[in-house]
């Protein structure tokens, strides 16, 4: 049965934005924790830890997010967990975000002048204090712009969760399109909603980057 596109359909699509935001939020928080661990391992003294972190980053940046999603989705059965689209999407996107944020933050940590670490060591600060009070606060300033930029990529990435059956914005659009068959209108609306989510973040990232560049050249 094909029916007309009504305001209820529009509301269904708009309210699915909630799930896109929730999934993005989970992945970003999980990715921030994972990314910090990856970045610290990547810049650690021990060679083994550095290698493992580098391998993790290379694998997740060198394979499609879609394959990562499928692998986690079907992998849940392998480790004996119930196959749940939200769980699979959250785990896959968290791992994905950990790799990308880990690489971004590694760059930021390495960009902090080595004199800072040396000074902290000379003051006999422990590794934890050195990172927490000296290196990371400075690295954070450098990392904010690319981190916000990655958030845009992550929000767009959550659209792939629709393929393993999680009803977020894109899947909501598909469902309504199947019922009303107004693909131009439906996918146009879905695209406009993503744009509303992502564009302000893109502008923010660009503004931060410009301000950073000014601060560096000064």
């Amino acid at each position: 049965m094909i029916r007309e596109f009504s305001s209820a359909d529009l509301m269904f699509i708009v309210s699915a934005v909630r799930w896109t935001l929730i999934l993005s939020g989970i992945a970003f928080l999980g990715g921030a924790l994972g990314g910090l661990a990856v970045a610290l391992a990547r810049t650690a003294q021990g060679r083994l830890r550095r290698r493992i972190a580098a391998g993790f980053i290379q694998v997740f940046q060198g394979t499609p997010l879609l394959m990562q999603l499928f692998l986690v989705y079907f992998g849940l059965a392998v480790v004996g967990l119930p196959i749940d689209p939200l769980l699979a999407a959250a785990v896959a996107l968290t791992l994905h975000a950990s790799a990308y944020l880990g690489e971004i933050w590694r760059g930021a940590i390495e960009a902090v002048p080595p004199g800072q670490t040396e000074a902290a060591t000379a003051l006999s600060l422990s590794y934890k204090d050195r990172m927490r009070h000296v290196v990371l606060p400075q690295a954070m300033r450098l990392a904010t712009a690319p981190t916000v930029g990655f958030l845009v990529q992550l929000i767009k990435g959550t659209s792939l969760a629709s393929i393993i059956g999680f009803t977020e914005l894109t899947r909501a659009g598909q469902i309504i399109n199947n019922a009303t068959f107004k693909p131009f209108l439906v996918f146009g609306t879905v695209a406009a909603l993503y744009f509303v989510l992502c564009w302000p973040l893109s502008l923010l990232a660009r503004r931060m980057e410009a301000r950073m560049r000014l601060a560096v050249t000064r």
């Binding site: 499609p64 499928f70 692998l71 079907f74 480790v79 792939l160 399109n177 131009f184 695209a191 993503y194």
Partner: protein, 222 residues
């Protein structure tokens, strides 16, 4: 306990390898056409013609702030409603070119703007024609400056191209999906697919490194 069964994968490895070849071909075509779109976009964006610049801005911002999956749905399902129908394979190529063109436009614009004005003036002083200046003084050094970002964008494009399997265009991911529908050895199939994509990414990265060494290194002495 989960029983691994790799037989369906290794028994049909030829199908997957053929799929990998299709992904390579699709990506290469999208890279070449995408580069053309990117150069045109960058020229439009740095040109003094205001409506042209404005249009390019809209194109770049819209594409960069919406997911590729939604773009391909819009092109494959939405455009036929406006009278433009395409086969899945054509729609896949068009969507990839449109997508990578937007990112490429920004990258190449940054490259063009990295060329100091004095260099262009020097080209003019040497009596080069505007076309010669654009090609030898602006484009080649600009491409050299942005080569790393452009090629990593291209590798990202190859990885993104796996999404075209959703509209049943032919590529590595859709070869895997077909095999999955016949054998249900899902985890094993996607594990091997992921490894194949990883190898493709390594292959492209090696290829781009070789191209860089041949075309974009300064002669040591002349």
């Amino acid at each position: 306990m989960y029983q691994f069964n790799f037989q369906p994968v290794f028994g049909n490895l030829d199908l997957l390898l053929y799929g990998a070849w299709l992904t390579v071909r699709l990506s290469l075509m999208a890279m070449v056409l995408g580069l053309v779109v990117s150069v045109l976009g960058a020229v439009a964006k740095t040109s003094g013609i205001r409506p042209l610049r404005w249009l390019t801005d809209v194109y770049v911002e819209v594409i960069r702030n919406t997911p590729f999956l939604v773009q391909i749905f819009f092109i494959f399902f939405g455009l036929p409603a406006a009278g433009i129908s395409m086969s899945p394979n054509t729609a896949a190529l068009v969507a990839l070119v449109v997508n990578v063109g937007a990112y490429g436009t920004e990258i190449i614009r940054a490259g063009i703007e990295s060329i100091p004005r004095g260099q262009i003036e020097a080209g003019r002083a040497l009596g080069l024609s505007p076309v010669q200046i654009f090609r030898h003084v602006v484009m080649v050094p600009a491409l050299r400056n942005i080569y790393p970002s452009l090629t990593s964008q291209f590798i990202y494009l190859m990885l993104t191209s796996s999404v075209v399997s959703i509209i049943s265009a032919n590529d590595l991911a859709s070869a895997g999906a077909d095999l999955n529908a016949r054998t249900f050895a899902s985890f094993e199939i996607y594990l091997v697919l992921t490894i194949l994509y990883f190898l493709l990414a390594l292959g492209f990265s090696t290829l781009f490194g070789a191209i860089r060494r041949v075309f974009f290194t300064y002669p040591a002495s002349r």
